[in-house]
């Protein structure tokens, strides 16, 4: 890939001036822009500086995108997939409901989330509507980002968006994240011009990324993704 990510806190493996992909998102959005209405990818992704029972340098991601819907349509897809796998229908809630006294400082807000909220999301749960400053690639509506996540057994399993289609806004977020990376002494993530071009051309779309190793781990009642991978 020419660029590994938009997000501030994602580290990629650099190989010969390019990057192993941290997710197939950039390529899939270019396919969306070609007009294919329902697309998916399942395969390996690579992220540096992540380790432990729920992380690995290489892991398996399922992503799918659908033209003509937002994140609600993707939530319906996900609920159908989970039902086929025998996972109970997730309850639906919001970030606001789970963390009403969200600290203003973004780091403290995330610390409160990993400490006080995530460990309690035991039943399958869809968490909707993130604060706009945690929008990543999602469309923002007022103070709310059209983004949801799936949790089960306290484990984050999937992240979905109503996909952002405003190239100016995408570029602004990318530059903001790169300023934050620079002040943390990190190299910037180059802006991928082919992606900026693609988001301007595809229609309204929803998309999702689901961690396959983690889902299989939970379905088989294991506690580490190493136990469900041939090579950890």
């Amino acid at each position: 890939m020419a660029s590994p990510a938009l997000e501030e806190h994602l580290e990629a493996f650099a190989v010969g001036g390019r990057f192993l992909h941290t997710s197939p998102e950039f390529a899939l959005k270019r396919v969306l822009a070609m007009g294919l209405p329902r697309i998916f990818s399942i395969g390996p992704c690579y992220r540096d500086e992540e380790w432990g029972p729920l992380h690995g340098a290489e892991f398996t991601m399922l992503e799918w995108y659908r033209l003509g819907c937002g994140y609600e349509g993707i939530a319906d897809d996900l609920v159908r997939l989970l039902a086929k796998l025998g996972v109970p229908t997730p309850r639906r809630t919001t970030v606001e409901e789970l963390l009403p006294a969200r600290p203003e400082d973004p780091v403290e807000a995330q610390r409160a989330w990993v400490n006080d909220v995530e460990p309690k999301l035991i039943e399958p749960t869809l968490v909707f509507d993130y604060p706009a400053d945690e929008a990543a690639f999602s469309e923002v509506r007022g103070p709310i980002a059209e983004r949801f996540e799936l949790y089960w057994q306290g484990v984050e399993l999937a992240n979905a968006f109503t996909e952002l289609r405003d190239p100016k806004e995408l570029r602004a977020r990318w530059e903001k994240n790169n300023r934050a990376r620079a002040s943390a002494g990190r190299p910037p993530h180059p802006i991928d011009e082919r992606l900026v071009d693609a988001v301007a051309r595809h229609g309204r779309a929803g998309g999702i990324a689901l961690g396959v190793d983690r889902l299989v781990m939970l379905l088989l009642d294991h506690s580490s993704i190493d136990q469900v991978r041939v090579c950890g």
């Binding site: 992380h55 995330q110 610390r111 989330w113």
Partner: protein, 191 residues
């Protein structure tokens, strides 16, 4: 000059200072929301009170290293709730209260050498050798003909520590035991 542990240096057993008190790390886990910053969740046990606290550190934050001295000392005797150890070079004796023994008291053998942890001149813990050899002071006889794989029975060693041993092991035999994780039988020791 204080030195620090970065989150990538976190390991079980490191000794750190939090709010002026010494703690030992008993659990750590890397957590990173897909779209967020990375944290390490930890459980820390107060070396003096034994109380456990949970703290979450962001990558880039660090913890001050607790200046714990580990002294190799030999067990001498027990008097009530106090266990006395001697530095075999200086012949200095230190008494460690039961509450700081952390279960190690059950494994004390005559003249066993242990590591006594000292923080600010106070003994705050005792570490056993990873492996000890001890005579079984009590266990039920094995049942003849029972060859079931993996069957075990409890055996008492040292000052009341109980480990699970295979059925063929008998009272009075000397066994090798891994003292970590609550005591685990390794093998019989033959003369």
């Amino acid at each position: 000059m204080a030195s620090y542990y970065q989150t990538s240096d976190f390991r079980n057993g490191i000794k750190v200072v939090v709010d002026g008190n010494p703690y030992v790390m008993t659990y750590f886990q890397f957590v990173k929301p897909g779209k967020g910053t990375a944290f390490t969740r930890t459980k820390l046990k107060n070396l003096i009170s034994g109380a456990v606290i949970e703290r979450t550190y962001r990558t880039g934050e660090s913890l001050e290293r607790a200046d714990c001295e580990e002294r190799t000392m030999q067990f001498q005797y027990q008097d009530g709730d106090m266990y006395y150890f001697m530095d075999m070079e200086s012949f200095e004796t230190i008494g460690v209260a039961q509450e700081f023994m952390g279960g190690a008291e059950k494994y004390l053998l005559d003249a066993i050498e242990v590591q006594v942890m000292v923080y600010n001149e106070r003994p705050v813990g005792v570490e056993l050798p990873n492996f000890i050899e001890a005579e079984i002071t009590h266990c039920e006889p094995g049942v003849k003909g029972n060859t079931a794989q993996g069957a075990t029975k409890p055996a008492t060693i040292c000052q009341g520590a109980v480990v699970q041993v295979p059925l063929f092991v008998e009272e009075g035999e000397v066994i090798r035991v891994d003292t970590r994780e609550g005591g685990r039988y390794m093998s019989r020791v033959r003369d």
